[in-house]
Symmetry: C2
Subunit: 297 residues, 2 copies
DNA sequence: AAGTGGTCTAGACCACGAT
DNA sequence: TCGTGGTCTAGACCACTTG
């Protein structure tokens, strides 16, 4: 474990002088390349290739050390070295492993925490974010009762779960070839007894091999928790597109509204670590007693 | 200016040892309670009263130094010491003024920048965020064309601007007494020639004394820019509640849709620095060719 | 060349949680 | 008591912007 850690990472330094000398000795250390690197900087694409980010300038093209560390941590997360809910090594351990100072590791972790990939807990450690522990609330669901009394039970009603060949639009969104297998799930969420959300969900069949209606109904807790623990697919980010639409007869029947009633349409594309889309979801929300809440900064 | 700066701020330290000694002298400085606090912590409400945050524990009740600095900067912002678009003093100047290290100021500024109150620009300085320079986009408007070609001109059509006594619900939302004067504005936004957004806006009359239809039509640029430069009211944060509704005859006529067409209803409450609500806005969006875009993390 | 923010380090001490 | 993250400092160097 930590053995290989000492070897592999050694981030490609792009020219940094460790002024780790007693201050009185630290006079004009102009050593051109006291660092192991300098040579390795050229061939090794900076940012260690881990970040999906583009290299903007073909010239010198930088990546701060802490960004490189961030990429390395990200890679470990993606590789499953630490599972959701587990603690990652302490800052000091990581610093030793990557051969940088604690402060640099801290800054890398700070950014990952700001992106909700990690969760810091003082005195305990830093943990991999998870959807599985959120009994309080579905992390990505922004639908909120208008009055707090409406905070009753949420019941899930599974309507359908099948495998099929992906229609063109679904395939495109999920970065698949038309005709690739996808899992299609249809379900209704009831809020305090009222049918409120009708979801259609598509997942790449490849990633969700053993997913069946039984597994879905058995599992207690949010669906993303199931995906995470059973299939190793972690939903990290998502984009939503919202529109107002009218209920067609099928929607109306399932949600218990009149045909032509207004519904909030929410199309969500969820992505994993490397920004690969891994779920497409089309939701229809009743908004007479609930609203979609958003904060602007 | 900088004179008073030297006196007034001196943040209430809650116990800190300036170990500003040469490292060779810094041996086991175990002064038991060089920490002033414990006493001063009680009377001086931590967070310097600036933060709207609650004090959770009645006990010791801490506020890290950088949080106190943040509050002080926030107060200067609120007092208008630096205007939107202007640069604030450099980190070193602020460090000197508050008698803390640059790193501490940096952390305070980092948070304010993360909240979009300040904008860092490398090599130039740190600037107060503004709505006035955003010719590209309205900072708070999340409505996006479905296809990028739809990115045509935005035309504003002012329908009405009057003063009136606040109805109960408006007053409550804006933290006013029922019957207080409010400014009511009604307008339509046209996107590439199509009427797309119908806004009803309410503002506290008190804060917007000279606001007239003329001022509104004359001013080029976003309305929040006008509020900022002409009335000194800066919109910092906002919460939105989204719903799907049906067009009533009046809405339908103004937006050029059928009665009963689906519309996205967006109720926005915008706040200033101290979280005081200063604008209530009810928008109706056509979403046939546009959608409301949101990112989840 | 000077000034600003950005990165990196090293080391001290604190608050919190588990032991 | 120990280990963890959290705060604070001080100082060095880097990159970007402006004169």
């Amino acid at each position: 474990m930590s053995l290989c850690g000492a070897i592999q990472p050694v981030a490609p330094r792009l020219g940094h002088i460790h002024c780790a000398l007693p201050s009185d000795l630290c006079i004009a250390v102009t050593v051109p390349s006291s660092h192991p690197s300098a040579a390795s900087a050229a061939d090794n694409t900076p940012a260690a290739g881990g970040e999906g980010d583009v290299v903007n300038t073909p010239g010198p093209s930088f990546s701060p050390l802490y960004q490189q560390i961030k990429s390395l941590i990200l890679r470990s997360l993606q590789a499953g070295e630490w599972k959701p809910g587990e603690a990652i090594p302490s800052e000091l351990e990581l610093a030793a492993r990557f051969k940088v100072s604690q402060g640099t590791v801290r800054k890398a972790i700070d950014e990952l925490a700001a992106e909700n990939l990690l969760v810091r807990r003082q005195g305990k450690g830093t943990f991999v974010a998870t959807h599985a522990e959120e009994t309080v609330q579905y992390r990505f669901l922004r639908l909120t009762p208008d009055s707090p009394e409406g905070n009753g039970l949420v019941k899930r009603q599974l309507l359908d779960c099948r495998r099929l060949r992906a229609p063109a639009d679904i395939a495109r969104a999920l970065n698949l070839k038309t005709g690739d297998t996808v899992v299609e799930i249809r379900r209704v969420l009831h809020f305090s007894g009222q049918p409120t959300v009708l979801d259609d969900i598509w997942l790449p069949g490849q990633l969700f091999k053993g997913l069946t209606a039984e597994r879905l109904t058995e599992y207690k807790g949010p669906m993303y928790g199931l995906f995470e623990t059973e299939f190793g697919v972690r939903m990290i980010r998502a984009e939503e597109k919202l529109r107002a639409v009218l209920a067609d007869p099928a929607d109306a029947a399932l949600l218990g509204v009149e045909v032509g009633a207004p519904l909030l349409s929410v199309e969500r594309l969820a992505r994993t670590y490397d920004d690969q889309p891994v779920e497409l979801r089309r939701g229809l929300y009743r908004t007479e007693a609930h609203h979609y809440r958003n904060e602007l900064n």
